[in-house]
Each structure stands twice: as structure tokens, then as C-alpha cells.
Symmetry: C2
Subunit: 207 residues, 2 copies
DNA sequence: GTTGTGACCATAATACATTTTGGTCACAAT
DNA sequence: ATTGTGACCAAAATGTATTATGGTCACAAC
């Protein structure tokens, strides 16, 4: 029985969930999107690359955008992992917070401006509210909340303000630097900005 | 002796600084830009509106963009005044800060989305780093610094962090909500966001 | 000197014909 | 039932010829 997708946006649920061809498509798409960009890559290009017909691609993905979203999800997942690793290798909630912010900025800059072509996908994703972006934002928000919780337990952070509100407001401070479309307008003196904002955040958390 | 303009961007220095025709141009431009938008309005339209030839316009303004910049400056000045008024009618630095942020958001929303057509000018200004935007940012930054200084004197705010750094970091928190291009991506739950960020800022300022 | 303009040019915007592209479907092979 | 495709369509992208627009300048009226 085919699972009807009930998500607001069509997810990639089509055809066998794990199938060799699906992986080939993702691999080819990753390569092509990186090299020639999302717009310049046609679905036929991908089909040719893996030696099948264009129609067969649509047995696995609902649309070209669905493919882009998958690639985008992977990219964002990479950042998530960078962050997870960064905050694991450092101790003390305040320093974890600093490192989290630092890593987000660094990884985002690397992804969006080193791999220039992936930027347009991430930009579309962020602008069009793709599920990939929402999941990403929620993930980071969650990590943030964890650090805050740790800091409250360890006595590093104040405990009066509701945890959820604290997490949300700090997330809002960081958001302009992880949202690709906003990041563009925050490039100059970004290092300085990040450090000063980190300090402001930590001051706001002092018990 | 004609004053050579040494600014990085050509300012509106051309022809007599105050002249009836200059004002007519500004008035016509304000009206037309509001009604039909910046792009849709041609310089000839403005000329026709004030009953002169197109060439005469260029005796007063270096370019169409220079006219746009003037109108933009006026718009932003309006916000500045709103803010100035708002923080004057309220007392206590913490409440002044809250009101400042609140007024910036409200006035920006009104300007950019009620007067929809002016948005494209402000957007170009913000994106292209026109002097109008720079002056605007510096003005708000200055007002912010004043409030902080008052708060330090009254004992409401901490005094350890350098004043300049505090002002800068708080400004960075507010910036996504006054920068028209970023404001677009912060529309949902903007009221809630603004209040939570205000609280975060005030927490960071507690002595 | 100040006020004012029509004619003129290079480039940007527009409009339109043509081609590409995303996406579907009936149908074939295993 | 699963794997796979060529033919087909509406809509978007592209190239191109044409027009409109921003901007200048020599020159005229006062």
C-alpha cells in the first residue's frame, strides 16, 4: 500500500524507499548540482548520467525540487554534524554556546560561498520554506535548548526565564547568520559581529 | 566655483541647493514613486508633471537614482522621527529601549508594506549601500548609544562592557528588523520575536 | 550668469517567436 | 508486480528584433 503523504509540501515519498537507483540519482544530482548548479542541470541530464530514461527518475522523486530538497537536506545535515561535533569536543555550556555559533557561521560560509552552486538551492529552500529548512532550524533550536539546559543544571546560566523563551530568543539572534538569504547581508565584519553577539547572549544568560 | 563632490557615491549636489524647482521635483517624485513605483516612473514623467523638460531635471539631480535616494532619505528620516518621538514620551532607559525597538518595527512595517511601492526603493538602497541607508543606520545606532549611556548613568544598565561594544551588539540584534531586505524573512511572529529579543537585550544589560 | 530646451546616443526594457524543460501516461518487457 | 521507456503536453526559458528610457550636449531666451 503506497503511503499517502500528508505533509504540506510533497515529500520525496515515491517508489521504493531504498533502492539502488534512488541512490544513483542522489549521487548524480549531488555531483551535477555542485558542478553546474541547480538551474543549469536538467532532469534529462541526471537521467543520462545514470543511464536511464527521464521518466524513470520520476518513479523515485515527485519533482526536480524534491531531488534538490534531498541534496539540500544532506548539506544542512552536514552543518548539523559539524555543530554537534564542535559542541561535543568542548566543555562548559558557555563555551559550547560560543562554539556552536562559531561553527554555524563557519560551516554556513563554507557551504554557501565555497560551494557556490549549492547556495541557490539552500536559498530556494530557505525562501520557499522547504521542509529541509524547517527541520534544520528545529534541529539547531533543539541543540541550543540542550546546551541551555546543561548550563542551568551546572549553574552557569540563570534559571528565571522560561527555558523555551530563552532558547527561542537566542535562536533569533543567531538566525540571520544561518539563514542563507540573510547571511548575505551580514558578511562584513561577520567575525566581529559573531563574537559580540556571543558575548551579548552570554551576558543575558548570567545568573 | 562649483563644489566638486568627493563622496564615494554621487550625492545630489547639482545646481542650486535650494530652489523651487528642486522642491517640485522632489514633490512630484514622492507622489509618483508612491503611486506607480520607482521603476514604472520615468524621468520624463516627472518632467511632465512639473511642466519642464526632462533635461532640466538633470540640472538638479545627477541621476534618477539620486532622486530616489532623496525620497528614500526622507522616508527613513520619518522613521527616525517616529523613534525619536517615541523614546522622548517614555521614561526610564529600559522602557525607552523597548519602545525604540517597537517603534522601529512598526514604522518599518508601515513604510515598507503599507506603502508597498516605496519598498523597492528602500530595498535598492539597503542592497546597494546607498548613503541614505548608511546615514539611517548611523542615526539609529547613535540613538541607541544615547539610551545606553542614560541607562548607565541611572544605574539601570551594567557598566563593565565598553559602551561602544554594547551599542554595536544590540544594534546587530535589531538590524534584521529594520533592514528592509531582511525584514521580509522575519515577518511571521514578528511581535513575539521583538518582545523576546527586547527581553534578551535587557537581560544582557542588567547590572 | 540663470533658466530652459529639442535633438541625439547608448543601453536597458519590452514584446514576441522559438526552443527547452519539467512532468505525465499509456504501454512494453521481465 | 517490478523495471523501464518514447511520445506527448503545458509552461518556462531563451534568443532576437524593436522600442523606451536614462542621460548628455550644444544652443537659445532672458
Amino acid at each position: 500500500m503506497p503511503m499517502k503523504n500528508t505533509a504540506p509540501y510533497p515529500t520525496t515519498a515515491r517508489g521504493p524507499a531504498d533502492h539502488d537507483v534512488r541512490d544513483q540519482i542522489v549521487a548524480a544530482a549531488t555531483d551535477h548540482f555542485r558542478r553546474y548548479g541547480y538551474e543549469k542541470t536538467t532532469v534529462s541530464d541526471l537521467a543520462k548520467a545514470i543511464g536511464f530514461s527521464k521518466a524513470y527518475i520520476y518513479k523515485f522523486f515527485e519533482s526536480k525540487q524534491a531531488i534538490g530538497e534531498m541534496i539540500c537536506t544532506n548539506c544542512l545535515r552536514e552543518i548539523e554534524n559539524d555543530v554537534r561535533e564542535a559542541i561535543a569536543t568542548v566543555e562548559g555550556p558557555p563555551e559550547k554556546l560560543r562554539r556552536m555559533f562559531k561553527t554555524i557561521v563557519e560551516s554556513s560560509l563554507r557551504l554557501f560561498f565555497q560551494d557556490r552552486n549549492l547556495f541557490e538551492i539552500a536559498a530556494s529552500a530557505a525562501g520557499g520554506r522547504w521542509p529541509a529548512t524547517i527541520a534544520y532550524e528545529e534541529c539547531l533550536h533543539g541543540m541550543l535548548q540542550d546546551i541551555l539546559q546543561q548550563g542551568r543544571l551546572s549553574g552557569d546560566f540563570e534559571r528565571k526565564t522560561p527555558l523555551d523563551e530563552t532558547a527561542r530568543s537566542i535562536y533569533l539572534v543567531m538566525r540571520p547568520y544561518l539563514h542563507p538569504l540573510m547571511l548575505q547581508y551580514n558578511l562584513e565584519n561577520i567575525e566581529e559581529a559573531r563574537m559580540q553577539l556571543s558575548s551579548l547572549i552570554l551576558r543575558s544568560l548570567s545568573p
